[in-house]
Symmetry: none
DNA sequence: CTGGCTCAGTGGCCTAGCCAATAGGACAAT
DNA sequence: ATTGTCCTATTGGCTAGGCCACTGAGCCAG
């Protein structure tokens, strides 16, 4: 019954566009292309890689979304800045194991600022989403759940309310790491209620438009989560 | 000559796939689709949206990369979890403009925390590197330079002193963006000296092991840089 | 109940082609 | 000399239509 560990490595299927995107990406690195340099025309590149233009186009879309290249109609495809150090971050951190304290620190740095910005910039729609997440979490807990999804939605709504794409992107970057800590934290007895209370305090500060209070509330909230990290380490 | 700020909002062109991705994304939200729910078949969806299957496919690639959906060969396209937070990122793809304020905000969030951590964790070696960068910057300015390299080294040394791999990675992530603001900031008359003074204050707080003071000094320093952003925007 | 088979539905990828945007050169107007 | 206009080659944007590969469900023989 112990099929817990993967027997066959679950052989993953990659779409062609993924391979193509990967090749292009490494090709950029290997040839030392810098920001502003142009890639070969699509027609030529497709032929060289042995794929159709449609597939190549998909690969370019993927690279564009990730921020590696910029495709300019009628002009060409150019390499953008910062094409390196993409989201290998998650793996890098995970390999080091036990980076939990670091995750907490980072989360504190980002979310404290996010909360402060949200307090100043939130629209009514933002508030509605935050309240919605709050209600969802409360209902889940009421029903005996841990409110994991509501927790995630709450933080997502606050992040959105900060209206900072860069901060949102960085949060997304470490999203998977945070998710793991979230599961552990909410697994502790009484924790969901405490967490919900923390969320309410944050939401109120944001509603009141008080950045300092929002930052403080968020800081306290993140600090509460960090207890888990310490316990886990001590164990 | 003052073409610094774009007069016309640089009217952004959106690719069709971006619009399609956006529509699908909002459609998911509006219809309350949850994780695991299936989207209509590509052929049907393409027809309903009035685009070719190839374009729809691009949109799905974009949504897949962002993490909103999962496309399964032979089965269908299903909505993944966390489409909530991620849908905001889709919009991020479009906004190519006006990132400067965001960079400042993000930098403030990260570096304030980094400075506080550095004050607590710095080793003697870390201090030595910080002092070295400080001296280098001072010498450069003395010689009439702008101290750009020293500035970069200083911030790098402080980041290293925080001993947080994750924070360092995120700083690296936005490193190129920061570099641009740095060049502008240090180009202003009298700025290098002010910057150097700010660095010294930060260094002293770190040396004294005072996290609150270090955070405050760093915050003030970053705020000074933000002046440039505002000036540039107002112009 | 198990394993193999078929089949309908669905995505993966391709070919071929036209449309639209851009950059850059030629050339006229100033 | 400089500026503005036009033309054109180049390049990406998007479509149409088609074939292949994979998946899941139902059926059937063992």
């Amino acid at each position: 019954m112990s099929e817990s560990s993967s027997f066959p490595p679950r052989l993953l299927r990659t779409r062609l566009y993924e391979q193509v995107a990967g090749q292009i990406s490494t090709w950029i690195d290997d040839n030392g292309l810098r920001a502003g340099d142009k890639l070969p025309p699509e027609r030529e590149l497709a032929q060289r890689l042995g794929v159709s233009r449609a597939t190549l186009s998909q690969a370019l879309v993927a690279l564009e979304v990730v921020g590696v290249v910029e495709v300019r109609h009628g002009d060409g495809t150019v390499v953008t800045a910062r094409h390196q150090t993409s989201s290998r971050i998650v793996e890098a951190i995970r390999s080091h194991a036990d980076r939990l304290p670091e995750i907490i620190e980072t989360r504190d740095a980002l979310e404290t600022k996010i909360a402060a910005l949200a307090a100043v910039r939130r629209t009514d729609d933002d508030l509605a989403r935050i309240d919605d997440a709050l209600a969802s979490m409360a209902a889940d807990i009421e029903a005996g759940g841990r409110g994991v999804e509501g927790d995630e939605r709450f933080h997502g709504a606050v992040t959105a309310a900060s209206h900072s794409l860069l901060l949102a992107r960085l949060m997304d970057e470490i999203g998977d790491l945070i998710k793991e800590t979230r599961l552990e934290s909410l697994g502790q007895p009484g924790r969901p209620q405490d967490s919900l209370a923390g969320h309410r305090a944050i939401a109120e500060a944001i509603r009141a438009g008080d950045p300092a209070a929002a930052a403080e509330a968020m800081h306290a909230h993140v600090a509460m989560v960090s207890d888990v990290a310490l316990i886990r380490e001590a164990q």
